[in-house]
Each structure stands twice: as structure tokens, then as C-alpha cells.
């Protein structure tokens, strides 16, 4: 138990201390919100879809949680590079405990960052249905964060060095984000795209957040919850397995 806590706390300390990471992780979503939100807003509204900022904000929050969490997971590569991984792997602690502690810490960081962006969106004019929306929104953020921290850890367990990182970003993270329906409604897209979105884990995260925050949903909140919970459990298991196979 204390080992889990220590590993969780370590992830938080590392996050709080890297100011560039906090600012960077805040800058990108705000850029999306301002450029796309105000840029496409008028067209979106003329097409009869209502306020684009309202629609976009949950997507931008989901994006923040996705990027922060994947990064937290992939931080494992840094630990390998700087050597701290060895210290944890030779300790008299089960590998699973180490993986779970890291993942909980990384996921917490993802949720914190999501809440910060939610606050920033509110400053930019976003209005959630009410304060009562917060617990459900936090729940969905937590599920997104767990899923993608575990995915990041799984990827980092297989990658040997930082060179593969860019590849992962371009081939996995970017498609997950752009095809999730974070930026556009899934109700009117071509069949093929809708099909791709339906196997994108983040699509359910975005949809769940949207249903919590503005009461708009594509798949239905119950489906979102069920799919995300199942997926996070599966990815955690796979991540735990891959992590347990790391050789120094």
C-alpha cells in the first residue's frame, strides 16, 4: 500500500515540478479552443448546430486528458533512459504494484490537467449544464486517463528508446484524437468514418464527457461508461503483462 502511494506521489511530484510540461499542456488545448472554437464557431452555428464552443470544449478536455495520460505512461522510457527503472525493477516489490502505482499517478495527473482545462474553457465562455455535472465529468476523465496511461505504459514497455516516440504520436495518438469526434459531431459523418470512430476508445470518452457536461450524446452515456470501463480493464491487464516482461 505504501509502495503504491510512494509511486503515485512520485508521478505527481514530477508533474508539479516540470513547469514547462504544465504550461505546454495548457497552451495546446487553449489554442484549439480559441482557433477552432472562434474560427469555425460562426459556420457551425449557421449550420444549425448551436454554439461550437459548447460542443468543442468537452472534446478539448478529452484531448488534454489523452495527451497528458499517454505522456505519463510513456515517461517510462525516460525512466529507462535515466536509469530509475532499474531501481524499481530490482526492488523487492511485485512488478504489478509498480505498474499500478505509476498508472494511478499518471492518471491522476491527466485528470488534474483536464480539470485545469475545464476551468480555462469556462473562462473562455464555455458553460456546463451545472455544478452537478462535475462528478460524472470527473468520472469520465478518470476512465480516459486510466485507459491511456495504461496504453502509454504498454507502448513504453515495448519501445526501447525515445526514437519510437514520434512514431507512436503520429500513428496512434493523433488518429485516436482526430477520429474521436472531439472536433465534429459523429451524427452526420460518412459511414466509414463513423465505423472507425466506433472502435476509437476516445470517441466514448469524448461522448461521455459531452453527455456529462452539456447533456449531448451520440452513443449514450451508459454505453460510453460500459465500453470505457471494459477497455481500461483490458488495457491495464495488457500493460501489466508487457511491463512484467521488461528486461534490463
Amino acid at each position: 500500500m505504501s509502495v503504491l502511494y510512494a509511486l503515485w506521489l512520485r508521478q505527481l511530484k514530477r508533474y508539479v515540478r516540470s513547469r514547462s510540461r504544465i504550461v505546454g499542456a495548457l497552451g495546446q488545448p487553449l489554442l484549439f479552443l480559441v482557433a477552432l472554437g472562434f474560427g469555425f464557431g460562426p459556420i457551425f452555428e449557421r449550420a444549425g448546430q448551436g454554439s461550437y464552443i459548447q460542443f468543442l470544449a468537452p472534446g478539448v478536455i478529452a484531448m488534454t486528458v489523452l495527451f497528458t495520460s499517454i505522456f505519463s505512461g510513456i515517461e517510462l522510457i525516460w525512466d529507462r533512459q535515466f536509469g530509475f527503472l532499474k531501481e524499481t525493477l530490482v526492488a523487492p516489490v511485485p512488478r504489478l504494484t509498480i505498474m499500478v502505482g505509476r498508472t494511478l499517478g499518471g492518471a491522476t495527473v491527466g485528470v488534474i490537467q483536464g480539470v485545469v482545462v475545464l476551468a480555462a474553457c469556462t473562462l473562455a465562455g464555455f458553460r456546463a449544464v451545472g455544478l452537478g455535472a462535475l462528478p460524472a465529468a470527473l468520472g469520465f476523465m478518470a476512465l480516459i486517463a486510466l485507459t491511456f496511461t495504461a496504453l502509454g505504459t504498454a507502448i513504453a514497455s515495448v519501445l526501447q528508446d525515445l526514437q519510437g516516440f514520434q512514431l507512436v504520436m503520429n500513428l496512434i495518438v493523433m488518429p485516436i484524437f482526430f477520429l474521436s469526434g472531439a472536433l465534429f459531431p459523429l451524427s452526420h459523418v460518412p459511414r466509414a468514418l463513423a465505423l472507425v470512430a466506433s472502435v476509437d476508445p476516445l470517441a466514448y470518452g469524448v461522448d461521455g464527457l459531452r453527455s456529462a457536461l452539456i447533456g449531448l450524446t451520440h452513443f449514450g452515456a451508459a454505453t460510453d461508461l460500459a465500453v470505457l470501463a471494459t477497455l481500461s480493464a483490458i488495457i491495464l491487464t495488457v500493460g501489466g503483462y508487457l511491463f512484467s516482461r521488461i528486461q534490463l
Binding site: 510512494a6 512520485r10 530509475f84 531501481e87 523487492p92
Partner: protein, 262 residues
């Protein structure tokens, strides 16, 4: 304290460690010397549960590390050849998280950390992040960390590599002191023969995966008729340079690892 019998590790077609046997007695400082790529680090990895031997047996403080892995891990500390600190954490936090990993109770942890940081002259810098530490300070911190959970054995894999003579001298003084006071058995590798001669009571020399000589520094010198341990070492292992061997071994190991993942 440490017992190795017919210990062997092969990576694909490469035999990194070839049936070595040795004993390290409780409380002694044992030096394990050899040219690059001779099998030193592979041996340490097998002794410290990081690699499973292909053949042979290891006993750590009476335990088989392959069977009682976590119990064995509590009995030793290890300082790796390359750094293994968290650079973003402070010196104190690095020791504290180690103490938690090894189940050192909080009160004892606080005492041990202060004692060791003072001994290794890092107490004043305890709240600085490790990324602001010099190479020598990092090394000292890692060695302090290795002692934190009062292990029975401390493994030091080339702990003084790249340090200036002052730091090296001080480091060995502190290690010898802890060896004397706490009775920790020390198993070390180094390329600096004078260091081995100074601190080690017994030495084993490994080359091409086999132990070519074992004994006290005096015995090794007598066996080879050499004046210094360095000359004895060269007499036993030849004077050709092993850089090529080392890189080939590393390459093979990586390829083998890539294809077999175990």
C-alpha cells in the same frame, strides 16, 4: 554469503559467463575484476535476480534468488554501473522512496537517511533535486541508497568510473567504514587495480566468461611473479584491448533480446 556454482549465461551463440564458481564470505570485501566484456556485469545481474542463469546455481545469504526473489532482494543493495536515480526528485526523496520499496519503517528510515547523507557529506544538499548534482555527488548518493535498508550484501558495479581521485579515495573510505561498522559484505567490480588492492580482501579475475585466478592480492601477485596487481592482471588476461569484444557482446545481447524477449 554468496555462493556461485557452475554459473553460466548464454545469449544465443555467445557464452557470456562460462561455468564459474566462487564463494564470498560474510563480511569480506570481494573484488571481481576483468577486462571489458569479460562477463562481470552479466554475473552481477545473475547474482541480483535481474537475469536468470542458463545453468548453475546461486545462493544469496542462503536463499536461491530464482525461487525466493523478493526475500533475496531485501538482503542486498546494488549500485549499478550507470546511474539509476530519479533526477527530478531531491536527494532525500530518492532515499525515502527506496526505503519505502524495501519496507524500512518510517522512523528507522528517517534515522538511516540522515545518518547516511551525513556520512556521504550530502546532508546540506538533501533538498536539492538530483539533476543539480555533480557526477561524484550522484555516485555518493547511489551508494548511500544502497546501504539504506541495511542489506547483508552490497553490490558495486564499477562505482568509481569517471570520478576524480579525491572522490574515489573518499568513497572507498566510506564504503570500508560501513563494511567494518555494519558488517556488510561487499562485492565490487572495478577497472582500477589499486582500488581493488586497497580495499579487497579477496579478488577473482574473470576473462572470456571464466575465472582465471582467485585469491588475496598478495597471492595473485605471487602466482604471477608480478610486482603490482596491475601487472598480475595483465599477465593473467593478456594485454590485447577488448573494446571490440565488448561491443560485439553487447550487440549480440541486444539482438538475442530483440528476437527472444527473454
Amino acid at each position: 554469503m554468496i555462493r556461485a556454482r557452475d554459473l553460466t549465461k548464454t545469449f544465443g551463440r555467445l557464452t557470456a559467463v562460462d561455468g564459474i564458481s566462487f564463494d564470498v564470505e560474510a563480511g569480506e570485501i570481494f573484488a571481481f575484476l576483468g577486462p571489458n566484456g569479460a562477463g562481470k556485469t552479466t554475473t552481477i545481474k545473475m547474482l541480483t535476480t535481474l537475469l536468470t542463469p542458463t545453468r548453475g546455481r546461486v545462493e544469496i545469504d542462503g536463499l536461491d534468488p530464482a525461487v525466493e526473489r523478493n526475500e533475496a532482494r531485501k538482503r542486498f543493495g546494488i549500485v549499478f554501473q550507470d546511474p539509476s536515480l530519479d533526477e527530478e526528485l531531491t536527494a532525500y526523496e530518492n532515499l525515502d522512496i527506496h526505503g519505502v520499496f524495501y519496507g524500512v519503517p518510517r522512523k528507522l528510515r528517517v534515522q538511516r537517511i540522515e545518518k547516511l547523507l551525513r556520512l556521504f557529506e550530502l546532508w546540506e544538499r538533501r533538498d536539492d533535486p538530483v539533476k543539480r548534482f555533480s557526477g561524484g555527488m550522484r555516485r555518493r548518493l547511489e551508494i548511500a541508497r544502497g546501504f539504506l535498508h541495511t542489506p547483508r550484501i552490497l553490490f558495486l558495479d564499477e562505482p568509481t568510473l569517471g570520478l576524480d581521485p579525491q572522490t574515489r579515495n573518499q568513497l572507498w573510505t566510506q564504503v570500508a567504514q560501513l563494511n567494518a561498522v555494519e558488517g556488510v559484505t561487499v562485492f565490487l567490480t572495478t577497472h582500477y587495480m589499486e582500488e581493488a588492492e586497497r580495499v579487497a580482501s579477496r579478488i577473482a579475475i574473470i576473462d572470456h566468461g571464466r575465472i582465471v585466478a582467485q585469491g588475496s592480492p598478495q597471492e595473485l601477485k605471487r602466482q604471477t611473479g608480478a610486482e603490482s596487481l596491475e601487472q598480475a592482471f595483465l599477465a593473467l588476461t593478456g594485454s590485447s584491448i577488448r573494446e571490440e569484444d565488448a561491443t560485439a557482446a553487447d550487440r549480440n545481447r541486444n539482438i538475442a533480446r530483440m528476437w527472444r524477449r527473454r
